[in-house]
């Protein structure tokens, strides 16, 4: 029977990062992934023939540059294409655009409000400064609402904005981008790096339990009943599944169990993936052009977003949701057949706990709300839809396993960050069970395709000496 130095449960990007770092330090490592392929929520799938989608996560910006360097990801196929602009259609038919060129953005802001243009520089400097201040804390150890269950007027959302402001690719601050081949290509590159260091990755291998003997993790039991043994077991699953599913509650201190039980997930976003035979033309900026190489943000006013949140507060999906739209095939033609396009719509809010629960009919009604809202900004767009995939938080949970479909494996709320993530006293990747570690987004610093949790967990494990 093979005995590994470490078994990593879950082949999402954080699990793969941990495995790669451990293998790089000459440990024998096995990654166990329940699904047929690695990636977790960072996967590319050909949902409709010829049309490839980054199913869930769709932009790459938070990925830590040191990981790209340490694991030599470009050598393993990682190629990031910049996302150049964000266009926000306004309710009066005008638009507000942020371009890759700072001066152009400033001129654009000036067109709307000279005062805001002045403030924007100041704001940008301030956010940059604050993000730089927060980043060391994270790396050592509209986007203001993304993935949280809060409205824009709710205090604390400024942190999520800051979290996204830290986007950094190859050291360029605030650069957002696509991975060539979709976000699945990021996972593949990390997996390939891991393999090159000697890590073994086994798919279709779901883990049902962690084996614990005398308060120490000794291995895992697979869903098929097989037992595998290792000195160290690392879970990249979210805290709820890591502690309440993989372990028995009598293997953990009871106050820790109650802390984990009250850790909040509340997935609040969905995704609509569309296959198109032509790109939509937005009223505010008609035609097809460079605007389609960036993102369209459907967030015409704070009040619009606040109202979208109001629906969700009372258990309904937003009738007119906040949306972040990208056209990956414009940047990476390989994502769709020639002349055709893929359109990815990130949608907020779609509460996991929908009144009456999610059904197929409600999923389609949600999809209709999304399509109709886009249609109101881009008339005629609906007639170009060839295929439609609607993903609710329940679907995210069902497919990826993420509890309540929360894309960050736990809300990024102030009381669930830093030393409180996932539970007070257990934010440093260790767990109350010796030899059992956690490395997913549910640990500090959490969310986004950042990989920081995975890397920090590997450091901790190596320091503790496996």
């Amino acid at each position: 029977m093979t005995h590994y130095d470490a078994i990593v449960i879950g082949g999402g990007h954080n699990g793969l990062v941990t495995a790669a770092y451990l293998a790089r330090a000459n440990k024998s490592v096995l990654v166990l992934e329940r699904r047929p392929h690695v990636g977790g929520a960072a996967v590319t799938e050909e949902i409709f023939p010829g049309f490839k989608f980054s199913m869930f996560s769709y932009v790459v910006s938070l990925l830590r540059p040191e990981i790209i360097r340490d694991l030599e990801l470009p050598r393993h196929g990682l190629h990031i294409l910049p996302l150049e602009s964000t266009v926000t259609p306004m309710e009066n038919g005008d638009y507000l655009a942020a371009w890759g060129d700072h001066d152009e953005t400033r001129r654009e802001l000036y067109r709307h409000s000279p005062r805001d243009a002045e403030a924007y520089d100041e704001y940008g400097r301030l956010m940059h400064f604050m993000a730089q201040a927060v980043k060391p804390i994270l790396t050592k150890s509209a986007s203001g609402i993304i993935g949280t269950f809060l409205g824009p007027r709710s205090p604390g959302t400024a942190y999520v904005l800051l979290h996204h402001y830290m986007g950094e690719l190859d050291g360029v601050f605030r650069a957002w981008g696509f991975a060539k081949g979709g976000t699945g290509a990021v996972s593949e590159a990390i997996a390939s790096a891991g393999r090159s260091f000697g890590a073994e990755i086994r798919c279709d291998a779901g883990v049902s339990k962690v084996l614990v003997r005398n308060g120490r993790a000794t291995g895992v039991v697979l869903e098929n009943g097989d037992e595998l043994h290792a000195k160290t077991v690392v879970s990249s699953l979210d805290p709820r599944r890591t502690f309440l599913q993989l372990l028995e509650s009598d293997q953990l201190p009871s106050d820790f169990v109650s802390d984990i039980k009250r850790f909040k997930f509340r997935g609040s976003s969905g995704k609509v993936n569309l296959a198109l035979d032509a790109l939509p033309s937005f009223t505010c900026m008609p035609g097809v052009g460079r605007q389609h190489r960036g993102a369209f943000s459907i967030s015409p006013s704070l009040e619009y977003v606040e109202r979208a949140y109001d629906d969700a507060k009372y258990g309904e999906f937003s009738r007119r949701p906040y949306m972040d739209i990208v056209f990956p095939s414009m940047i990476d033609p390989g994502m769709a057949p020639p002349g055709k396009h893929v359109m990815s719509i990130f949608v907020q809010y779609a509460p996991y706990n929908l009144n009456g629960g999610w059904t197929d009919a409600k999923r389609e009604a949600f999809g209709d709300a999304v399509v109709n809202t886009v249609e109101s900004f881009a008339p005629g767009f609906t007639s170009h839809i060839l295929h439609r995939q609607v993903i609710t938080p329940l679907d995210i949970e069902r497919i990826t396993g993420l509890s309540e479909g929360n894309i960050f494996a736990g809300e990024l709320a102030l009381h669930q960050l830093f030393f409180l993530r996932p539970a007070p006293g257990w934010a440093k990747f260790a767990t109350p069970v010796r030899g059992f570690y956690q490395c997913g987004s549910g640990t500090h610093p959490g969310g986004g395709i950042m990989g920081a949790s995975g890397r920090l967990a590997a450091m901790r494990i190596l320091k503790d000496g496996t």
Binding site: R153, P155, G156, R262, E306, K313, Y314, H415, P424, G425
Partner: protein
């Protein structure tokens, strides 16, 4: 007559500052714009130090301790009454939820410990985190040690709970809507936030300061009346005063009506920071002036009285049947409307006067009209099964005119996490000083803020040279 100091405003904080200055031998004049004292009760903890220092007990101070401290109607009829005795409250809660009854004693204890930390922070100027001064650093360290000595649970609770929403906090503990509604109401008290907004758990703890474990409403007292009755300082009424400042130095006040000038080397304002500083903005650094203008003080409470034919059966009635009810009441205010179904509280003061707290009634900058006012009065009367004529309400707009409080906010600035401690009234100026020499602030707009009558006044007096 020459004065050493002029205090603007004869509310609890202004009078407390005036009395402390007088005790230190200064000749003090208090100038107040209102002609008659405000008959409404003071709501909030009057710290013992003030009672002791100023001999308020001998001056006729009465602090009310109603028992039961709250009565809330139950949806199926009947009421939930919570007593000062934790066991009796648990019994009452047990009739609607045994699980909540079991949680009650521990909840009361944990919240009391946290409120105790705030009390300690509130009786001194806020910690100066930028300081390099050894004494200040020692003081901050002492505070840290004090909190640590309270145990690991308290440290975790503080870090976890302060940024939370009151809804999240209560959902952690309880299941009963009525119980969560009446507790949650305290979390949004005088805030333009709903119970799901972050920071409302802090607002909840703030209002627990001074209350014993198991009581979740601030005490009422006649502290302003008592202070005014003590003849140690001269109070001149019916005059609105503006600070007189030139070349960065205050030299007295100008009375708006007569145009008379009263000179004094020291001016202390208990009026709100914006109302105090706007008229002398020309003397201020633009950055500072902008920070003052950006103080959030969005009035959302209409206060008033209820006249009933007989004495009611309750001391304090709360209409906030669930957290969702509060959240929906807030939704209306978010878009500038009065709540269709507002949170209403009726408080009986010892003179059998019934005072009303109606939330949310957003400040409208004078655009609210008579119809809107009548509609609100009718709505409140209906909720309380009273006649519209028995309800008298004063909106934040009227509060602004009559009290001069910017946007009708009673606390001169909301108690949100970005406006407390060393950030109150504005970051860097939390020590009651202003950039104008000789001009100090001592009102609710300064640390520790509203709902603790006299605390800011006392802290300020101790900072004034």
């Amino acid at each position: 007559m020459n004065y050493d100091a002029i205090v603007i405003g004869a509310g609890a904080n202004g009078l407390v500052t005036a009395h402390y200055l007088a005790r230190a031998g200064k000749r003090v004049l208090v100038v107040e714009q209102r002609h008659a004292p405000d008959p409404s009760a003071d709501i909030g903890w009057v710290p013992n130090a003030i009672i002791r220092d100023l001999g308020l007990s001998g001056g006729g101070l009465r602090i009310e301790e109603p028992d039961p401290w709250i009565t809330a109607p139950l949806p199926a009829g009947g009421t939930l009454e919570l007593s000062r005795d934790i066991g009796r409250s648990a019994e009452a809660i047990g009739r609607i939820s045994p699980a909540d009854a079991a949680q009650w004693p521990e909840f009361c204890k944990r919240m009391r410990t946290l409120a105790g930390v705030l009390e300690r922070l509130y009786l001194v100027p806020p910690p100066d985190i930028e300081s390099h001064n050894a004494r200040e650093l020692a003081r901050i360290a002492g505070l840290g040690l004090y909190v640590r000595r309270l145990g690991k649970q308290t440290v975790i609770d503080l870090a976890r709970i302060l940024p939370m929403s009151i809804a999240e906090l209560l959902d952690d503990w309880f299941e009963s809507d009525v119980l969560k509604g009446l507790l949650g109401a305290l979390g949004v008290w005088h805030l333009k936030q709903g119970p799901r907004s972050g920071g409302t758990a802090f607002n909840f703890l703030h209002h627990l300061a001074g209350s014993p474990a198991g009581v979740f409403r601030p005490p009422r007292s006649n502290v302003t009346q008592t202070l005014e009755g003590m003849k140690r300082v001269e109070v001149r009424r019916g005059n609105r005063a503006t600070v007189l400042a030139k070349n960065g130095r205050a030299s007295g006040v100008v009375l708006d009506k007569s145009g008379d000038t009263i000179l004094a080397p020291l001016v202390v304002s208990s009026a709100d920071p914006r109302a105090t500083l706007d008229p002398v903005a020309i003397e201020l650094d633009p950055e500072f002036a902008r920070a003052v203008d950006n103080i959030k003080a969005r009035g959302v409470v209409a206060r008033g009285t209820l006249t009933l034919d007989g004495a009611p059966s309750y001391a304090n009635l709360c209409v906030a049947p669930s957290l969702e009810y509060l959240e929906r009441a807030y939704d209306d205010a978010k878009y500038g409307r009065d709540s269709a179904a507002p949170y209403v509280e009726v408080q009986r003061t010892d003179g059998n006067r019934l005072e009303l707290h109606v939330q949310y009634v957003p400040y409208t900058d004078g655009t609210a009209n008579v119809q809107r006012h009548q509609a609100l009065q009718q709505k409140v009367a209906q909720l309380l099964s009273a006649q519209p004529g028995q309800v008298r309400l004063q909106s934040p707009d009227e509060d602004e005119i009559q009290r001069g409080a910017t946007e009708g906010h009673l606390y001169h600035g909301e108690l949100t996490l970005d406006q407390i401690l060393f950030m109150r009234p504005v970051p860097g100026w939390s020590r009651y000083r202003t950039p104008i020499a000789g001009l100090f602030l001592c009102g609710s707009g300064t640390h520790p803020g509203g709902g603790i009558p006299g605390a800011a006044g006392r802290n300020a007096a101790r900072e004034i040279p």
